[in-house]
Amino acid sequence: MDATANLPAWRVNLATIGALMSRAKNELLRVPGAAIPGVLAPTIFFLGLNGVFGALTQLKGFETGAYESFIVPVSMLQGAGFTGAAAGVNMARDIEQGWLDRLLVSPAPRWVLLAGTVLAASARALIPGAFVFAIALLLGAGWPGVDGLLVTFFMVAAMAAVAACWGSMLALRFKSQSAAPLMQAGMMALILTTTAYAPLALLQGWLEEVARVNPVTQVVEAARQGFVGGVSWAETWPGLLALLGLLLVFGALALREMRRTGA
């Protein structure tokens, strides 16, 4: 008799999510090289942007004199974006190889299958986040405090979940790894059309307008607060609200595609 037959549904769902996360972890342990691009890309962006645009802090209106402190949360969020997009690429690979079909014929609800992918991406995003953060500290970025660090890493994990929903949605729609550039470009645009490079007042024309309405600006500001000053609830809740909204929207879209797949 099936050992899960007498278990409540929520426990079975939780076990399925755990199994899917464990599969993602195994991928990481068995092919560690696969994680390198996800770690390398945000690190290069961090080092490059810091070396190139570091002099921007001389402009009036910058909250900090250290550009590395200003840019590090952006690079950590970029790492989350790349990791989430990679989750989408992996799902597309699973579709191409027929693995997702096997999952779809299992009794697991669609949202559980999606949750496994998304939560695995959230956990995985902490690796590039931690790496970039360590490099930034070595270069002299300010210590954000324990509360600042917790807020930043929470934002990173949640942003990876958003990116994974976006990547999964595209993977399920196009059913091909060829959609990878769209997954990456979408997240790159979402994260960088914010106050990523400079404070709002110093952004030029269209970008200032876009950054004002882009919800990720609130996420960037919340993740950045510990690095450029103190942590406050007033700076944190807009970021949390923005992430919740993004997760609801992208999660719903990904779930819709998941339900359409194999229906």
Partner: protein, 278 residues
């Protein structure tokens, strides 16, 4: 007119040579066109050449545009005008990388083996790929000039300046493509060539592609001063921001020549290796 006539054997030899050259030119053209079609058909090859550099150009122009107010920033009409050369460089380098990936895929799928077995020059096979990469470089330069003009950037050097920049970008694309082709021929693995993507970003960030060298932070500043790609960027940028400058152009050409020599040398060695190992 007897003194001007050549011996029959030389005439036959010359005609053969011309025929051979024509045949090779046809192969280069056909493979070049195939490489361009391949890129336009595959979004994963096209995106790095057009989509990513365009997004970055837009974001960096909007995000760091106030940099032109910094003391020491060279006189430019706008940050967009300054950034056009950087975007073109990024695009052409990624075109070189994409060309390398496509060649490696051809090797993995056995297409290159079929070409090697055909009665055509082996070098024409590589040159065909490079011709395609050069064409993509040309496309990238036209694309970014169009974007610049649409969004109000002025081309200080006028039409001759624009043509010079386009020519430099096109030739550099082929030169960089030579390095991508060499790595593809040596490794025969698309994933290895794809893994070089971050390296392209490193080379770009450590050059004057996105910011004036004088305003960069150490050690990026010192590295950028000696990075040959900085010379090429300046050669492409000068006609856009202030007009044609013979010294900048000569330095750019010298840097391109260096990359061509390295690319061809590495490609020749890698080609010999590929023919040996199959």
């Amino acid at each position: 007119m007897e003194g001007h006539s050549l011996p029959r054997s030389e005439v036959v030899g010359g005609a053969k040579g011309a025929l051979h050259l024509r045949a090779n030119a046809r192969v280069v053209r056909a493979l070049g066109l195939r490489s361009i079609r391949q890129t336009f058909r595959r979004p994963q090859l096209m995106a790095p050449i057009v989509v990513f550099p365009t997004i970055l150009l837009a974001i960096q122009t909007g995000g760091a545009g106030s940099a032109v107010e910094l003391p020491g920033f060279p006189p430019v009409q706008s940050f967009l005008q300054f950034m056009l050369a950087g975007a073109m460089m990024q695009s052409l380098m990624l075109a070189g990388n994409s060309g390398g990936i496509a060649l490696a895929v051809d090797i993995e799928m056995g297409f290159t083996d079929r070409l090697f077995a055909a009665p055509i020059s082996r070098y024409a096979i590589v040159l065909g790929r490079l011709a395609g990469t050069a064409a993509l470089g040309l496309f990238a330069s036209l694309w970014f000039f169009a974007i610049g003009l649409v969004f109000g950037a002025e081309i200080a050097g006028g039409v001759p300046g624009a043509l010079l920049s386009i020519a430099l970008v096109t030739v550099t694309a082929a030169a960089v493509g030579g390095i991508g082709a060499a790595i593809a021929l040596r490794t025969g693995s698309a994933s290895v060539v794809q893994g070089l993507f971050p390296l392209v970003l490193v080379v770009l960030f450590l050059s004057s592609a996105f910011f004036p060298v004088g305003l960069m932070i150490e050690p990026a500043k010192t590295i950028a001063e000696y990075n040959p790609f900085s010379f090429i960027v300046e050669g492409v940028r000068e006609p856009i921001v202030s007009g044609v400058d013979a010294t900048e152009t000569a330095e750019a050409l010298l840097a391109i020549a260096g990359i061509v020599v390295i690319g061809l040398g590495l490609s020749a060695r890698a080609l010999r290796h590929r023919l040996r190992v199959g």
